[in-house]
Symmetry: C2
Subunit: 291 residues, 2 copies
């Protein structure tokens, strides 16, 4: 494209954010919608690409996230951990004329395996300006929370916990469903839940206690959702040694507040990171490495 | 009733079992149906009672289980742990002419609370012929698995884990849903799951690993359900010291096999107990104590 501008897309399961960038990488325009991969019909991606180009011109497009999964446009093979920007750029796949999808990262340890698609761009973007020798621990909370350890601008280990999904399932279905419509905010019910969840050998028991406590009147019904959320987040944090540890938190809004409180309770120090800035730094760095 | 016969009902959330007993307590007839409290409309219990009496005569009825909850016929106040047959009989409530509902048991410890409705009858029934001084540990697996400790024919402590409910939620909804339609049986996938779940500080991470392993091809899709079931049952068992411990297992069918295998893996020795026999022994003992 004559002026060198291009389009970056953070294309997740539920949501999509797209950005029009100029040749220097500055954001000229952006959009955010619910057009995640679950709402794009099979075979619908070329049309989505055209729609972006109708809006912003016939520019190069670089996308990351679940768009590269078997639920998305085209499955793009994972790159393997340890993973850095050079490796990710090498495994980025051209899926149409002037359109690329960034790979996810696969972890294959002897004791467990894990996968990510999209978080790698944010984490490596957040590290792009950092001292390359540092150890860092990132947390990106959500439906499937990621804990990502980096050494020297390289993702070396990570773990995914389906904390947000379990909360959504419990809230929508099952025995706790009628009790979890209260607000979820930092407070004594949430903090008691974090303590309980972090020490719970049996998460399923710690969750049932929420119901028993409401039934027996030792927990107000309006506090049940905050307590259950605390139990789940506490269980996610309980097995990690956060005492004195800095956690780079890739989150915004209410979830950022809840995780900041919970990480603080477990002795960690939160460094907030803006997810959009991190994504843009990461995708610019990938684009700069594409041949 | 002239001949002294009566009707006992084990009335749970989803299912119901009713028995016609003669004056000596022998079972003359029984029925088992899906007429649990979730399928009885509000105000529908007198009609259900009439239907039982049309079938078996105008006899006394003693019922136990969720029928005595706020989702059932009439909320019957819990009796408090430690709980024995005498206390349960004293708190059994007459809810209609010649019809009684057995209370559940509430546990109020400083660190946690719990509730049960129905399991107390089976456990105390199973103990009715036992040496009254023994310590015993009962496990009743299911949607909400119960672990119940007794001393001297008295329920002194218990804990409920929503293991079966979590499995059902994961199988029906969410990211694992499409992967969990395989058979769940004892085998290497189940046992590996038990090991992983029992040592998991973060159950939500151990569950996500099932998805990652299928995606990366280190776990066959057909084994995912057995593995996830093992992770959940392992997490239920992991916090309990079962080494060398006898566990009285109140279960039947596939669930009995899975729990027997998992408890064995954790070093426990299973003593199988027939749930129906235990329920009948318990409800007979309660009925004998009613004024």
């Amino acid at each position: 494209v004559a002026d060198g501008g291009w389009i970056a897309v953070d294309w997740g399961t539920t949501n999509r954010r797209a950005y029009l960038l100029d040749a220097g990488g500055d954001v000229l325009d952006s959009l955010s919608d619910a057009c995640g991969v679950l709402s794009v019909p099979a075979g619908g991606y070329p049309d989505e690409l055209e729609a972006l180009r109708e809006r912003w011109g016939a520019r190069a497009v670089v996308a990351a996230g679940m768009v590269g999964s078997d639920r998305g446009w085209i499955p793009v093979a994972y790159t393997e951990a340890p993973a850095d920007l050079d490796g990710i750029a090498r495994a980025t796949r051209r899926v149409a004329a002037d359109a690329w999808i960034v790979p996810g990262v696969a972890l294959r340890r002897a004791d467990r395996v894990d996968v990510m698609r999209g978080e790698e761009v944010q984490v490596l973007g957040a590290l792009a300006g950092a001292d390359g020798d540092d150890d860092a621990l990132f947390c990106q909370p959500g439906t499937h929370s990621k804990w990502i350890r980096t050494v020297g601008r390289r993702i070396v280990d990570f773990s995914t916990s389906m904390t947000g999904e379990l909360f959504a399932l419990l809230r929508a279905h099952g025995i706790l469903a009628g009790m979890l419509d209260g607000a979820v905010a930092d407070g004594s019910a949430f903090r008691a839940g974090v303590d309980r969840g972090a020490s719970a050998a049996d998460l399923g028991a710690a969750l049932f206690e929420v119901r028993a406590a409401v039934v027996l009147g030792t927990l107000a019904r309006g506090d049940a959702a905050a307590r259950a959320s605390g139990v789940l987040i506490g269980a996610e944090l309980g097995g990690r040694d956060l005492e004195g540890r800095e956690v780079a938190l890739l989150a915004s809004g209410p979830l950022a507040e809840l995780y900041a409180a919970a990480i603080g309770l477990r002795g960690g120090a939160v460094r907030p990171i803006d997810s959009q800035t991190a994504f843009l730094d990461g995708i610019r760095a990938v684009r700069a490495r594409l041949a």
